[in-house]
Amino acid sequence: MLQFNPLKVECTLFFEENPYTLETAEGLALRLGRKTAELVLILEHLVTDSILEKIGDGEQAIYRYVQPDNFQIPREFIWE
């Protein structure tokens, strides 16, 4: 079975809805109504996937959303 972690989805959606949030794991746990310990693991996963960026270390580490890279492709390359 593949990874389909509802908490990971919930956490990602939170940052997508609030893309300018800067928050610690504890603060996020409070906002999402989850336990800090289980959230930390998920946040680390999201950092590995480059969905979040972690600033600092330990309990005071702050997480923020990272927008995907944007690359422009001129249309003439497609309809040449």
Partner: protein
């Protein structure tokens, strides 16, 4: 009838037949049945003496005569009960005719013989032949009793199985019930089994031992059973029940010993669900030739199959529920973010989350930038981005029409696999979501979910773009209408009148709001050049309507119902229409409907003042104000509604025009009155002596 009663009846019958006392006792000589007496006797004390006097009762292994005193004989036969208890069937007493006198003399001379001498009439005197016949008949009785007990063993075992099956069926839905409990129960019912286990099918030809009851459980769990290898692997191939005995020297047993198991006999039954082998049920015994019951094993395997199906349905239902609630959450956030790019970010991140992809990207066409595609990406290296984006664009955006809405697999030049999911809605392709994956099999269970996600993304983007185009088109049409009013007042008047007619008649024939809005826009846009408009208009409906309109102008022929309606209205407001088109529209049924509607509407308008004398005066007042302020008929109507205290929406509804048109009229009215808001306008009109009724 229980075994005890049948036994007693049998024993009573034979006692009569043999004319002997018969009783069943245990090893301690305690009575297990009531003593059955011969036809004419009832000497309990004598029977007790007879039982007590049998020498070495527990040594008796077959049906024999035993002398309780020299010459005085009893019959004894061992019996094994269903609970493995050893009993003895005793029958007596008798003496051979040729030694009767000698026995009597012995009894007289010996103290222990006194009780028997006293009851000598109860001792059966038999010839040698009779003695042999009695032994044979007694043998029959003991065999019958033995069979009775043996049958009871089967009945007990059968009842046990029924109870066990009932227990399993009743507990299948219990949360605590599982296959470990089931096989442990089976092992308890079959004490000779030293272990029972289940190997569960994983993928392709792999089977893993996941349930085990017996010693070395920790070491055995997780062992893989390979196709064709060893005892169990053979059953995977043959898909048939097999058992093996005397296997202690079999080389295949070496692996078993490694895990602390030394069976001497073994069975294995495939667990089938439909035509697939979902697992293997196996067990072993330390007995060299264990008699496994294939029916029992097959029933257990079928039950395990049923349980596996039930578990898999439960898992699948939970999984679907999880997918559905996740989808709801994602869609809900998509509708909240109010920005196309943020919708695309959600698609990318969810793609990575759900498939644990190595990368995820979305190629999409930006609505504002006509000649560019953008590739949003997470996790893909920059050098790959450009090449993949162009390739993806060529494959998906070179045709305007969307042919396929399902996702597809694509292999990158470096061998990496990608799942590409079009983001579509109403045959329009907005973009393509690409997710880097490890294998096709990983994606398959999630394809329906990803398709729904693609459509949800399509809907969200469609709605956001529509909102955006409506806003920009509204501004443009507003500007063009004001320009028209300033520079071409007659055209402007016709345009306003056409809008009024469209708003009323369109509702009459049931057009939807998008069509009405497109027709209203067209009332202004027809006065401008085609080349200037088509690049500036974003709304799909308006654009399509205008294209049909220009084509009809060019071909002098109308091929579209909405454009037909537009021409009918334009003709009605006095716009110059090419003769062939004019002819075509007058023959169209829609024209007749319009004429009828307008007549009804006109009747309604002129019916209102009938019988209201003051209205004539009001009309004069209206005319005066209209003239003074240079207001159009429509503007006068709007002003009249403003004075009645109606807001823009209420005015739009009462006059069958759009909010946007009311706003236009209001701007003009305020300008012409030289005021800045409605309250000043109302005050000014009242000052001029106009009082609405």
């Amino acid at each position: 009838m229980g075994v005890e009663k049948t036994l007693q009846n049998l024993q009573d019958g034979y006692a009569h037949l043999l004319d002997l006392m018969v009783v069943l006792v245990d090893e301690k000589r305690l009575l297990k049945t009531k003593i059955s007496y011969p036809k004419n006797g009832n000497e309990e004390f004598l029977a007790q003496q007879m039982i007590a006097s049998i020498p070495a009762l527990t040594k008796i292994k077959s049906t024999i005569y035993v002398d309780v005193l020299p010459g005085l004989k009893v019959l004894a036969a061992p019996i094994i009960t269903n609970s493995q208890e050893r009993l003895y069937l005793i029958g007596g007493m008798l003496v051979e005719d040729e030694i009767f006198d000698a026995l009597k003399k012995y009894l007289q001379e010996h103290k222990e013989g006194a009780v028997f001498l006293h009851n000598l009439q109860s001792v059966k005197v038999v010839s040698n032949d009779e003695k042999a016949r009695i032994l044979a008949t007694f043998q029959q009785l003991s065999s019958s009793i033995q069979s009775l007990y043996q049958n009871q063993v089967y009945v007990d075992a059968f009842q046990n199985k029924i109870l066990n099956a009932k227990w399993a069926v009743e507990n299948i839905t219990d949360e605590r019930f599982n296959l470990d409990v089931l096989i442990q129960q089976f092992k308890n019912l079959n004490p000779d089994l030293s272990f029972v286990g289940i190997a569960v099918h994983k993928e392709e030809e792999r089977y893993l031992i996941q349930h085990f009851a017996g010693q070395s459980m920790d070491r055995v769990l997780g062992i893989e059973v390979a196709l064709g290898e060893g005892f169990l692997g053979q059953v995977i191939m043959t898909e048939e029940y097999s058992y093996w005995t005397h296997i202690q020297e079999d080389p295949r047993l070496v692996t078993y010993r490694k895990y602390g198991l030394s069976p001497r006999s073994l069975f294995c039954q495939p667990i089938k669900v439909g035509n697939q082998t979902k697992g293997l049920l196996f067990g072993g015994s330390e007995k060299e030739e264990e008699l496994f019951d294939p029916v029992d094993i097959s029933i257990l395997a079928s039950f395990i199959g049923v349980f596996m199906v039930q578990q898999s349905l439960k898992e699948s239902s939970n999984h679907h529920f999880l997918q559905l609630s996740t989808f709801n959450e994602i869609f809900s956030v998509m509708t909240k973010v109010n920005n196309v790019k943020r919708v695309l970010y959600i698609l990318i991140d969810m793609g990575m989350n759900i498939l644990s992809g190595s990368f995820a990207s979305v190629l999409f066409k930006e609505i504002q930038v006509q000649n560019k595609l953008s590739l949003l990406s997470r996790g893909m290296k920059n050098e790959q981005l450009s090449q993949y984006g162009r390739d993806l664009g060529k494959r998906h955006f070179s045709n305007k029409l969307v042919e396929k809405t399902e996702g597809m697999f694509h292999e990158l030049t470096n061998g990496e696999l990608v799942y590409e999911m079009p983001i579509t809605f109403r045959s329009e392709l907005f973009g393509v979501l690409s997710i880097g994956i490890r294998s096709k099999d990983e994606v398959k269970p999630y394809i329906p979910f990803l398709s729904s996600l693609g459509i949800a993304g399509g809907i969200s983007i469609y709605l956001l773009q529509k909102e955006l185009t409506q806003q920009s088109d509204e501004k443009l049409v507003n500007l063009l209408t004001r320009l028209l009013e300033k520079n071409e007042s007659e055209k402007y008047e016709r345009s306003v009148e056409a809008r009024r007619l469209i708003a009323g008649f369109a509702k009459e024939i049931g057009l939807d709001s998008n069509e009405i809005s497109a027709l209203e826009n067209a009332c202004t846009l027809i006065y401008y050049e085609q080349e200037m408009l088509l690049d500036a208009i974003s709304d799909k409906e308006t654009m399509e309507l205008m294209q049909h309109y220009y084509r009809a102008q060019e071909w002098k022929k109308v091929k579209n119902d909405l454009v037909m309606l537009l021409f009918i209205i334009l003709d009605r407001v006095g716009e110059k229409i090419a003769q062939p088109i004019k002819q075509q529209l007058q023959n169209d049924p829609l024209y007749k409907t319009f004429v009828e509607w307008e007549e009804r509407n006109y009747m309604a308008e002129i019916e209102i003042p009938f019988g209201q004398e003051n209205d004539m005066e009001l009309g004069a007042e209206q005319e005066e104000i209209k003239k003074k302020l240079n207001l159009s008929n429509r503007e006068m109507e709007v002003l009249h509604q403003v004075l009645k205290g109606l807001n823009n929406r209420e005015i739009a509804q009462s006059l069958f025009i759009s909010d946007h048109t009311v706003k236009n009229h209001m701007t003009n009215i305020l300008q012409k009155l030289g005021v800045t808001d409605r309250s000043q306008a109302i005050a000014k009109v009242y000052q001029m002596g106009y009082t609405p009724q």
